[in-house]
Symmetry: C2
Subunit: 373 residues, 2 copies
């Protein structure tokens, strides 16, 4: 793979992603200044993740806001493939989703695809993916989603509800259409071929529950878009709205851009990590720094390739002025990596201390959020 | 398609089926005299459908009887694709299944594949296939299956139980394996590709419920064998017994061998037909008779291609001597078609009168048989 090449599917992100090319390839639209202003008018502010283009692309967002303005409440739908513990990269879209829930006062449907991860990952059992579904749900709850308006469901525990809806999708998706979107081959198992139907099903669930056509907004990393292209094709055929989407970039890896794999623990900070683990991982992180302090002072650092800077930019520095100062200090060679790492580690440890307390509290009221058959 | 060609898949039976070729093609074994004697020793008799080779082929039946003799109770598993009303052809394997349940005093798991028929048949809705599931269940119950030992389930109503088991199958079946068995192509919908996993799931259900490896015997028409070839491949990999099978021939069409389609009402007698409908359909049936009574007396009829004779042979003349007399009378030209049709119509009308009363009674205690999530 050359530097210009990259692959983005729901199960694989490889290479250095060019997000403009990806939008053109997927056929999505950029979030432009006009759309940001519309958000500001409707909600009173622009979330930092929007301002910073961490959420950068969409489908039918103007249509969704039209419906909202016309008095049609939408519902949010997002989810998680529970293949292990949650890492900070997973939290990014969930934090944004929680903000959307608050800003628009809407329901959130949160899917745990224990079936998908079991089918996709050879050594994982269904018992394990269900275990991680419950574990990951604690993270969602700890972020402060609205207990009255959030429904978390695990696919195998909610199959009596979801499977019939998934059948309505599956009947209308040919093998060749699915292959074109996901790149399946002869060795793909037949569960993975069907699975996209289960990810589509919750798009239609609120409409079925409420007995009206409910507009849906799906905040997700852009690698999940292919599933919902399928859903959108089917939606009109079965008499529902096409879901709108808002897409995030991928969260940076601690070891640099081309090593996004969450299956290498050292590339990610998990919400279950101890302060020692956090500090060790950040100490080993890939930065945009030079080999010596002298060179750093002379040439300046490269924050745009620096995992430590990206972490701050994505999650740990909401103040724009301070973020700019951080970036410019690095570019001018006034900051050294050790200092930035120390600063980030302190912030992450503080954040996780609070988040882990939230996870503990969530254990007592998880059942307020879970829906099952 | 020439006279020698035929196609047999779970969704299509076309041409004049050569059962010996089919056994060779599918890799199943014939039910021979030794096996019949073993049945007689174990159950005290040989059921007419076995004697007459209406059930003619099997997989691992000797192994299953070995387990039975060694004290391991097996369970029966069969089912129905509920795309419409039940016809007499569907009853044939169910009557045999009921006999097996009685003879061996075992549990019967009966699957209604409302998902499959919805996915396969374009105009059918899930509401319709579920409606026919309940309707068809009345026929199963009316045949006298044991209420204490029979569990009837409709896939979409039992998906919370079945879907996780189906996933264990699906994970272990590649697209190319499924395509090789079923002949899928690019236009096959992704639900149909997955569906075989749902048909496999009940094979493992008794083992999961009872917490021991339960041997399974599946009585079915031989077109269903491909599904269970897949199941058998997977069974060992997930620590269960391979299911044994006993295969029936296809029930004759009223309009002759090459018109098996149950979607043409005139080819089949439905359990919901009125006496008038029964008599009209039988009056129009294809027979092995000659064009004139003179020719019939001179040349004799051809019972082996006669739908009326086949109906008697399969379901309406259990007495071997009388069946032989019927056949020989026809061959010698002593019988004319009108007489045979009258005789058969009387028998079918009498049978259906009793069966329809059984269906009515079944409505009051159907819930004793149905299991759902």
């Amino acid at each position: 793979m050359t530097e210009e090449e990259f692959v983005v599917t729901p199960w694989e992100v490889e290479g250095h992603v060019d997000y403009n090319k990806l939008m053109a390839l997927f056929g999505t639209e950029p979030i432009d200044g006009q759309l940001l202003k519309r958000f500001e008018r409707l909600t009173g502010s622009i979330h930092p993740m929007l301002r910073r283009s961490l959420f950068f692309s969409h489908r039918d967002l103007n249509w969704l806001l039209d419906r909202y303005v016309a008095g049609e409440k939408f519902a949010l739908y997002t989810g998680r493939g529970p293949s292990g513990h949650t890492h900070l990269g997973h939290l990014m879209p969930w934090i944004f989703t929680r903000y959307l829930q608050d800003a628009f006062d809407v329901d959130l449907y949160f899917q745990m695809t224990d079936d998908e991860k079991f089918l996709q990952k050879d050594p994982l059992s269904l018992k394990e993916t269900k275990y991680f579904s419950y574990d990951n749900a604690l993270d969602v709850i700890a972020l402060g989603v609205n207990p009255k308006k959030t429904k978390i469901f695990i696919n195998t525990d909610y199959a009596k509800t979801l499977y019939p809806i998934a059948l309505e999708v599956a009947k209308r998706v040919t093998f060749s259409a699915a292959r074109a979107v996901f790149g399946f081959d002869n060795s793909t198992n037949i569960g993975m071929i069907f699975f996209t139907s289960m990810q589509s099903a919750p798009v239609f669930l609120p409409s079925i529950i409420e007995g009206r056509k409910v507009p849906i907004l799906i905040p997700c990393a852009i690698d999940q878009d292919p599933h919902f292209r399928i859903t959108r094709d089917v939606a009109a055929k079965i008499g529902y709205y096409k879901p709108a989407l808002i897409h995030s970039r991928f969260f940076p890896s601690l070891l640099g851009f081309d090593k996004m794999s969450a299956s290498i623990p050292e590339t990610s900070i998990f919400t279950t990590d101890t302060p020692q683990e956090v500090r060790r991982k950040i100490a080993n992180a890939f930065t945009g720094g030079r080999t010596t302090v002298q060179e750093q002072k002379l040439l300046g650092g490269v924050p745009d390739v620096c995992a430590v800077y990206q972490y701050s930019f994505c999650l740990f520095e909401e103040d724009d002025a301070r973020a700019r100062k951080l970036r410019e200090g690095c570019l001018r060679g006034e900051r050294v990596c050790g200092f930035c790492k120390q600063e980030l580690a302190d912030k992450v440890v503080t954040f996780l201390e609070r988040h882990q307390a939230g996870r503990e509290k969530a254990k007592d009221h998880i059942e307020d959020f879970i829906i099952r058959d």
